[in-house]
């Protein structure tokens, strides 16, 4: 198969988008998951439900509301205009923001689950040994939750790569800016260029499979699976 410039652009854009979104998501999800895992506030249930909400909205519908929300009359749009950023739809930044909403629950859940499973004892041990809350978080909680972060990163990255409906809605299909691979392949299908669609899909699958293989292979030792744990 031959890759056209348009193909290469779409691939590169997709990798860029998914990487940036995954990174930001991990940064947002970690404190959120921390709070959800350890708080005793009754707000917990409400926040949990709220975080999971984008899940149930069909992507195109979510995209529809993001389009309105980021538009000149929408709250987000008014904010970005006041800040002098302009409007977000049809820009790469807009895709990033939309993807953050869309993939957040998939990243929060595994991290929260991992935090909950660590339990208090390792944190107590570290505190006794003189570790400040920050150090406990970095050198105890994080490494013990590696398995959860791995799941979170995989789900977040893959979900963003496979994202379609939201981007279709707010992207505007602009080459090199918002035409990611999923849209690009879809275009081929719509244009009845099935051969090109097949090739691109195969490439995407192979690449993803390869990435997943690597990530799963470097999975950390199972810290709790030992016979005596």
């Amino acid at each position: 198969m031959t890759l056209t410039t348009a193909d290469m652009d779409a691939i590169w854009l997709t990798i860029k988008l998914a990487s940036i979104v995954t990174l930001i998501l991990l940064m947002i999800a970690t404190p959120l998951a921390l709070w959800l895992a350890f708080t005793r506030s009754h707000l917990r249930v409400w926040v949990s439900s709220f975080v999971a909400l984008p899940l149930v909205l069909p992507p195109t519908v979510l995209g529809f509301y993001l389009l309105i929300g980021m538009g000149p009359e929408g709250p987000l749009g008014q904010l970005t205009q006041t800040l002098g950023i302009g409007l977000l739809p049809f820009t790469f930044a807009g895709l990033v923001i939309a993807s953050l909403f869309y993939s957040l629950p998939f990243v929060v859940q595994p991290i929260q689950q991992a935090f909950e499973q660590v339990g208090q004892r390792p944190l107590e041990v570290a505190a006794i040994m003189g570790a400040s809350p920050m150090k406990r978080f970095i050198s105890v909680l994080l490494p013990l939750s590696m398995r959860g972060f791995l799941s979170a990163a995989i789900l977040g990255f893959a979900h963003t790569v496979g994202e379609f409906g939201v981007i279709l809605m707010i992207g505007g299909n602009i080459p090199s800016e918002t035409r990611v691979l999923s849209i690009h392949i879809y275009d081929q299908v719509e244009m009845l260029n099935y051969a090109q669609a097949h090739s691109l899909s195969a490439l995407l699958l192979l690449f993803s499979f390869f990435v997943l293989l690597i990530v799963y292979s470097m999975q950390p030792v199972r810290l709790t699976g030992g016979a005596r744990a």
Binding site: E124, V125, A126, I128, M129, G130, R228
Partner: protein
């Protein structure tokens, strides 16, 4: 002095202790299973919500009406009754982690403890790859290496053989005397207490029922059978 005046609740169990503990030598804590020994140590360490009361150590307020000193500032060593190690670090890394309060590793003392506790072979192993006695030995080393001002030990030698136990007890005694390190030592073993401790606290059902120099208390104990049966 360690001044304690606390009330702690845990389910239906209640611990009410008001006492002054000497800040020199070894103070043993004795009492039947479930009487609140672990709860007392955890409260002192700052790991338990305290209902009302205060804790002062050497004139410094650790827990008062308004605020509580965070655990990591209390300069404690604590050998828990179980799981005292960080399971994602190997033995050497646990020892290093325990010394984070010091500007640099105290390799001399670390080497001494490694020999005393027989850890040489274990340094590269993870806690899940150790026998229980080995875990306890590593935990003792960690607690001592963290240069504490107060050492809490919850039955630290329960799974060790007598020979090694003796050497460790000697070291603890020596360390406590020479480094001005008070030790609170929970044990079920009156024989051990008699040889090791300077002071003795007896707890029953969440309350302090006796306290004093170890010999006085042991001699005055209502049930001398306790001692003779075992020794």
């Amino acid at each position: 002095m360690l001044d304690i005046d606390i009330c702690v609740r845990q389910g239906r169990f209640q611990l009410n202790i008001q006492t002054c503990i000497a800040d020199t030598g070894i103070t043993a804590i004795y009492g039947p299973s479930g009487c609140g020994k672990t709860t007392l140590l955890r409260a002192i360490a700052g790991l338990m919500p305290i209902q009302t009361g205060s804790i002062q150590f050497r004139q410094v307020c650790w827990h008062g009406q308004r605020d509580s000193m965070p655990v990591h500032r209390r300069r404690l060593g604590y050998v828990f009754q179980e799981n005292s190690l960080l399971r994602h670090l190997n033995v050497a890394q646990n020892l290093a982690f325990a010394q984070q309060r010091q500007p640099q590793l105290d390799t001399g003392y670390q080497q001494e403890l490694i020999e005393l506790l027989g850890l040489q072979e274990l340094l590269k192993r993870y806690p899940t790859e150790l026998s229980l006695g080995e875990q306890q030995r590593v935990a003792i080393a960690c607690a001592l290496l963290s240069k504490p001002q107060l050492l809490l030990m919850d039955e630290p030698l329960a799974s060790l053989d007598s020979e090694r136990k003796q050497r460790i007890l000697q070291h603890l005694k020596h360390r406590s005397e020479n480094f001005n390190l008070p030790i609170l030592y929970v044990s079920h073993h009156l024989g051990e207490i008699a040889t090791l401790a300077d002071h003795l606290l007896i707890i029953e059902d969440g309350a302090l029922i006796k306290q004093g120099p170890v010999n006085t208390v042991i001699n005055a104990m209502a049930k001398p059978a306790l001692i003779t049966v075992e020794d």
